[in-house]
Symmetry: C2
Subunit: 220 residues, 2 copies
């Protein structure tokens, strides 16, 4: 019982801080995406492809969550994009207070869109609201079409689902029909974007949808 | 402080149960591998390739850890191999008490080797001893050669490291030199097995090493 009470207290505290983050971001008219995926699914490459497509239209910043290292933040900064590294010190997900500290060092008046690249795994980040507008997940073709069955929680909470590395479909036994059937069952309303951040195929549909979300949020 | 104390208590209790598992397995002369990897890295395919190579020599069983579903256990049972499914109900790693309950339903007198397929991620299973002889991890080529930098803990605790899906090296920008340099720094003594469970390349070296470990344990 002590464990359950403590978990609930941690989640309650997190949600309160996340709500504060959300209000600050809304006041500053910053649209925020919490990006979830396994290691190597291509979170950083999808962010880079989005920066290349929307970087002239919106001022973008990135908050990088990792248990160690800053290789992704370095790759983002090389594009001339502000990036803040959070090292969780072993924890398998970001929490709202970590994001709050990252927001403190960004000039939010100069930003339209923030990607929060969460720690790479399909489980722990699911339950933690950070103050984002949308949780969006990426699965990549090499991971296999059975992942919605095995990790249903993340497919259910995500408000859009990207299938990355579609250029490698010929090399893997991946049924896009089986995959889309599974995600439609778990999450019938989430938009679905198959794409390759390597070849650029499908990136247009994703970035246009994202731009629409940003415009809708600004208009509110 | 309350959180840290509680975590320590959970880990202490886990270690005590894991030690009981280990003593039982040793008494029954069952060699046990805790297999760690991200979703889709090929844990089940490596287990199946090992069963095909060593199934005539050793009686093998599998304990499948998943947060949901039993698709892997079903695939293993189709090979005529005993498989016990553990669903963690959301938890991102197995604990010793879950493995204990799985051992209760296996006929350990009829088993030489157990694979424990842990929940798919590179973070949470790192800290939990289950009673196994060795923790062994799999990274797959599509995940990228930078993963040792980003998830050093799992590379440090693993007592052997498998690189799977080497048949897809031509399709990905993966430097095996960079990868092996990183793992040698993090874990200089861990044997390293590059292989493809699809083509069978490299599987021989892995299964022969594993057979040697089993024989050494029996001889003790």
């Amino acid at each position: 019982m002590a464990q359950i009470d403590l978990e609930q207290k941690i989640l309650d505290k997190n949600d309160r801080l996340a709500q504060e983050n959300h209000e600050l971001l809304k006041e500053k008219q910053v649209y925020t995406v919490d990006l979830l995926a396994s290691p190597g699914a291509g979170k950083t490459s999808v962010i880079l492809a989005t920066i290349h497509a929307l970087g002239d239209r919106y001022k973008i910043a990135v908050i990088e969550g990792d248990i160690a290292s800053d290789v992704d933040a370095v790759a983002i900064k090389e594009e001339g994009i502000p990036a803040v590294q959070i090292n969780t010190g072993g924890a398998c997900h970001l929490e709202a207070d970590m994001v709050k500290r990252a927001l403190d060092v960004l000039d939010l008046d100069e930003i339209d869109l923030i990607f929060i690249e969460n720690v790479g795994n399909l489980i722990c980040p699911t339950d933690f609201y950070l103050g984002e507008d949308k949780k969006i997940m990426i699965l990549s073709v090499p991971e296999g079409d059975d992942k919605p069955l095995k990790y249903p929680g993340i497919f259910q909470v995500s408000q859009a689902i990207i299938l990355n590395k579609t250029d490698t479909l010929p090399a893997f036994d991946f049924s896009t029909d089986a995959f889309t059937d599974s995600i439609k069952q778990l999450n019938p309303t989430a938009p679905y974007f198959p794409l390759s951040s390597t070849t650029g195929d499908g990136v247009d549909a994703w970035v246009e949808w994202l731009a629409d979300q940003i415009e809708e949020a600004k208009a509110q």
